[in-house]
Amino acid sequence: MADKITLEVARYSPEQDGEPRFDRYEVPLIENWMVLDALNYIKDQLDGTVTFRWSCRMGICGSCGMVVNGHERLTCETLLADYLPGPIRVEPLRHFPVMRDLVVDLSDFMEKLERVKPWIIRQPGAPEPSREFIQTPEQLAEYKQYSLCINCVLCYSACPVYGLDPHFIGPAASALSLRYNLDSRDQGAEQRLDVMAQHDGVWDCTVIGECSVVCPKHVDPSLAIQEYKISATKAWFKNLLMPGGGK
């Protein structure tokens, strides 16, 4: 096995560069090193100015997402050795504005996430239980898959619809929105549907399905969006047949 591998890292400094460029770094190829380990090696040993986000190093915080050789990956769980003989091209996630090197501006996603109210909503005046809510394993199974989302936004980067129309609510926000709708404790489905059923909501999705392919947690946001389309259609018909009533 080779003892070194080359990384081509996308660099962009807003103070100086008009366009991003690629810098090449040679790093030791150590067994079990991830792309993130190589980036940290570069930052510590070769070039302290390389900028990227990371935290947990175990696929949980969702902050180390980048595009590695053209595919969205959590770099803390992407083996260097899988890309032999190299070089490995590391770029920031697509579609989001690049702030510096590999760091993108996630404000747009944060705003969308908030819009779908990803928390448990109770109707005003709904009876509060005298103890914690009881949930059966079946009720948990309903939403568990969607609750595994770690907001790494790899799905937004993989979604050409979001790339072409930044107003699209997008995969992760939809999956998290459905996660609360499916929760037996929640009563906020209607409020969320108001956001999701708008034109920039789920209807923008053309079912390309790449979001679900790249999801490192197998959340399947594409399925969530299509389920939302079904609920939106049902709600529309209900409203047509029983305007204002039949809730």
Binding site: Y12, P14, E15, D17, E19, P20, G70, R94, H95, P97, V98, M99, V104, D105, E138, P160, G163, L164, T206, V207, I208, G209, E210, S212, V213, S222, L223, Q226, E227, I230
Partner: protein, 135 residues
């Protein structure tokens, strides 16, 4: 008070023109959308065919002669391939788009997809039997 720290603009990227060639899934999607044009063509041909049948044997013979032109045969072969692709791509999509519940449990992708292929196969056999004069 104006801030002493200058604010730098982030770098905004545009989608490349040929984005749909970057990944197999994107290309598949574009082909699926494109295949709709061939489905529309097939609908038009069928409507013309029905109209000519209603008009009488002479009109139908004219329709058949029109369809026998080499150019139309090529167009129809290409259409057939795309319509086949259209059908298969939507069959492939259904389990990605919904997993209905049966008896409170979600069905698997295979359980959702398989019945469509079965119905398709049966329908094809029935149509083939008609066409070949078995019935």
């Amino acid at each position: 008070m104006p801030s002493a720290v200058p604010r730098y603009r982030p770098y905004e990227r545009r989608m490349p023109l040929l984005w749909w060639l970057q990944r197999w899934n994107y290309t598949w999607f574009i082909l699926r959308e494109l295949s709709s044009a061939f489905v529309a063509w097939w609908v038009v041909v069928t409507l013309i065919q029905i109209a000519s049948i209603l008009e009488g044997p002479q009109a139908y013979a004219a329709f058949q002669a029109w369809m026998a032109q080499p150019l139309l045969i090529i167009v129809n072969i290409v259409s057939f391939i795309f319509i086949l692709f259209h059908t298969l791509s939507w069959f492939r999509l259904v389990p990605q788009a919904m997993l209905p519940r049966i008896g409170g449990k979600r069905t698997s992708a295979v359980m959702t997809g398989a019945p469509m292929y079965v119905v398709w196969a049966v329908a094809s056999v029935v149509v083939a039997c008609f066409a070949l004069g078995v019935f």
